[in-house]
Symmetry: C2
Subunit: 358 residues, 2 copies
């Protein structure tokens, strides 16, 4: 099936590209944006690309009041021979639909969306940075637009994709991060929206991030919302532990986001004959393993940073150093391998890296 | 202190008012809207009233992505002698600031906001319906407007107030509602955002409302997010029980919204010498009390419906009738008294009903 974008309105004035050396995350956007509308009568319709521009919405638009919105995040990479590559983009549209389901938003056609995305990225391909470690961040999102204060699912939506050139997410490169174990604020609870990528999950986490920062830690380690006992995620990443030469990660329990990097890390390790144990992991176990020396590595996984080693952890007023504050060999290997596959520098036996011929 | 709105730009064309007999909730808005902006440099500034109009926002505006937004809901009533009345509006601005705190949004000046609101309502006073049971719904809300995909508190916000003439919230008048006890989806958990009025709490509840509707029930009865055992709220209302001639309501535990109607109901009952027991109330206790005849009444409280009796309840596949499906005497008395105070028909020994002289 090839789905074509209905209409492309090209911009007449190309914007100046930002200086890669001073680039801030998510502040600059490419020349165009993709849009598509939904109404109860027409379903999703009118896929189009238009110059990047402001939106016009009623003050009563439901997104402002009841937050019915979902989003995704993925990247386009430029390989050394100039190819444009997307990493497992079909997984993002699959997860978008899972999020839509939780938020009572009508689902999109995943195959069509992928075709639209490719066409759109090709049009704005000059926005994919060529510099090492840089990429074009892709943000698909859906907002509810019906203008009513009635508390019920909207009957109108707009889906958009915007593109933003980005450097490394963590400005300190892949220096290990420090984390603060949060045991008061909750990110997500069973039966809630934790496994959907929806706006409210993120702003609800700011208070905890502020506390982590005031303790001079980079990120929050989230515990489960019921017992505040089991590790769930780190910042906006999934989390892995290497204990006694085995890899462990919290099992998907409904309140954890099903990360695509997480999934890829598991598949990659298993393809090397290493098994990954998905289970409940208590913070007490992590602390004990660190104290007795069996915790060899801890790292986060996500599209932004790919692999982000954890070098320091604060829990109940005490600071713990992990792996002497250094990045471990498994984290290093995973980072190199994944980035290699993403950028086309390494072989891709999985077929994860999709070439978009520009 | 008297705070004046900086600037009033009056509309040149007055809109036609909707027909009160066919009025739908939250679909029609008055001639003007109130706005005020925040920037890190200037704080909250430029309070103004302008013709009701669309907003222009960047696609990257943070509200679309990370949902940093809070809102309030209150009403302006027209008394029989033509006065304009607001019900405990200072409580709404106090709660707005509590919500702001949870969502890392800069607080507003509560006293100034109240003065702005009065001035604004006076300007659009012709939009307050004169018909019995009708009122002008007031929706203050704040959205984050900075255009960046960085996951951190916005440095720019807009506060708006829009006004919508409304009839009775429940179209069937004060006929008792039926409710479905939800024991899978969670509205709020300890450490989450349940006691803040923020967008994500509402869209996250749609799935449960859809299930309630598919069971032919009007509203969801929410249980606690940890054990799914204790009653928290009903729909977007707080909940009360009359058991053995005593009034009971779930204690404020951090995941329950601190309703202003709830607070008023407690104060009203206590002023009549009745005590209200705020405690944990399990769904099993409610069912047992209904079975043995000691549950005399159950009702929800909120700005929209004031008092909403519950006549039927479904739990674990069984239907239970409460008080023979009728509104009880306490609910009736509370409804009459509160509506009487709100509309100026009854004496107001509490000073809850504030006259806005137009
Ligand atoms: C809450 C949360 N957890 C985990 C992740 C990691 O997911 P992915 O690997 O698909 O980027 C993300 C998204 O980046 C996230 O927002
Ligand atoms: C979730 C929720 N619970 C309870 C209430 C009742 O609060 P109030 O009495 O202040 O209207 C509201 C708001 O109306 C609400 O949104």
């Amino acid at each position: 099936m090839t789905q074509k974008i209905l209409e492309v309105v090209q911009t007449t004035i190309l914007k100046e590209k930002p200086d890669p050396s001073t680039l801030e995350f998510g502040k600059h956007f490419s020349d165009h944006m993709f849009m598509m509308d939904y109404t109860s009568e027409e379903g999703w319709h009118q896929p189009r690309v238009v110059p990047y521009q402001s939106l016009t919405l009623e003050p009563a638009a439901m997104v402002f009041h009841y937050g019915q919105t979902v989003f995704e995040g993925l990247k386009a990479y430029r390989s050394s021979n100039g190819d444009i590559r997307l990493f497992r983009p079909e997984e993002n549209f699959k997860r978008l639909n899972q999020s839509c389901d939780r938020l009572s938003i009508p689902k999109v056609n995943e195959e069509a969306m992928l075709e639209y995305l490719k066409e759109f990225v090709k049009l704005d391909k000059d926005w994919i940075p060529k510099e090492k470690g840089m990429s074009l961040y892709i943000r698909p999102f859906i907002i509810s637009t019906e203008a009513t204060l009635d508390v019920s699912p909207s009957r109108a939506y707009t889906l958009m994709i915007i593109l933003s050139p980005v450097g490394s997410f963590y400005k300190g490169g892949i220096d290990p991060v420090s984390i603060f174990v949060e045991n008061e604020y909750t990110r997500a609870a069973p039966g809630g929206t934790g496994n959907a990528k929806t706006a409210g999950n993120y702003s609800g986490a700011y208070k905890a991030q502020e506390r982590a920062s005031s303790h001079k830690k980079d990120q929050v380690l989230w515990l489960d919302g019921v017992e505040k006992k089991y590790v769930e995620e780190v910042g906006s990443m999934n989390v892995f532990f290497k204990i006694n030469d085995e890899i462990h990660t919290p099992a998907l329990n409904g309140s954890i986001l099903e990360g695509i990097t997480r999934k890829s890390v598991i598949e990659l390790l298993e393809s090397e004959g290493m098994s990954v144990c998905e289970r409940s992991i208590s913070i007490d176990e992590v602390i004990a393993a660190n104290e007795n020396g069996s915790l060899q590595e801890m790292f986060g996984t996500g599209t932004a940073a790919v692999i982000s080693p954890v070098g320091r952890l604060e829990y109940k007023g005490r600071d713990y150093e992990i792996n002497n504050g250094k990045m471990g060999e498994t984290a290093s290997w995973l980072h190199e391998t994944l980035v290699g596959i993403q950028t086309g520098a390494l072989d891709d036996p999985f077929g994860w890296s999709i070439e978009v011929n520009g």
